[in-house]
Amino acid sequence: MPPFLYIFLGALAIVSALGVIVQRNPIHSLLALIATLMTVAVLFIGEDAVVVGFLQIIVYAGAIMVLFLFVIWLLNLQVETGPTGHLALKLFGSLTAALLATELFFILAPPHLQVKFTHEPVGYGSLASLAGKLFTDYLVAFEVTSVLLLAAVVGSVALARRLPGTDDPRAARKTAS
């Protein structure tokens, strides 16, 4: 990708990431988050991580974000009318974020990282190379991931289901207390 495209995408990512945290309406925050994730996906593709970039679009835009939207609608969240936080908290938060960014910038500066620049091997970022790594060096981790996902499915169903015999969980709480 040409450099100006990187600059543009980077600016877009930062602006939409800011949009996530400054907007009052959770839906607007969510849409800004989708924009950020898309931009990051395009940056992945620009960095020759093509498969991972498209997987990011499918997994995030197609699944996780819709889950978020459903939850926002299910809870019927409205625009926050009051202040989103204390002023001191805001100041403290911004300061921390700025300090953290500076710190990360200095720690992660390339001289410290000692990255040995090499040319990418042929087929870098292709599905075959990704799968090759995944099913040889990382096979155990890959198989454990399936257990993780299963646990997540069981866990979320157990959390979200209503207790048997009670239509309204609030009624159950009242009788219990």
Binding site: A13, I21, F44, L67, L100, P110, V115, T145, R173
Partner: protein
């Protein structure tokens, strides 16, 4: 190829924005979105360094991070729904039962 400094500073800025979101916002859902932002900032760093090193390990890690993010989103949103059912709020400051 764009200098590594650019990608790393972009990643650092997005990560910091995510941290700021978790600190400033009191809506659990938005805090949750900020966590996703941080995960993505880290992914970006992995991909950038991986492509400079010519190694696929960075992409494999990103693959795993995405899986964990999906699992985390499912369970986290389940927790948020059950909190809302019991306390009818998604405001982090209202959840004071465990506060000392």
């Amino acid at each position: 190829m764009i200098p590594l400094t650019y990608m790393m500073s972009l990643s650092a800025i997005i990560f910091a924005i995510g941290v700021a979101g978790v600190i400033i916002r009191r809506n659990i859902l938005v805090m949750f979105m900020s966590i996703e932002l941080m995960l993505n900032a880290v992914n970006l760093a992995f991909i950038a360094i991986g492509s400079r090193l010519g190694s696929m390990d960075g992409q494999v890690i990103v693959f795993f991070v995405m899986t964990v993010a999906a699992a985390e989103a499912a369970v986290g949103l389940g927790i948020i729904i059950s909190i809302f059912r019991n306390r009818e709020t998604v405001h982090a400051d209202d959840l004071t039962l465990m506060r000392w």
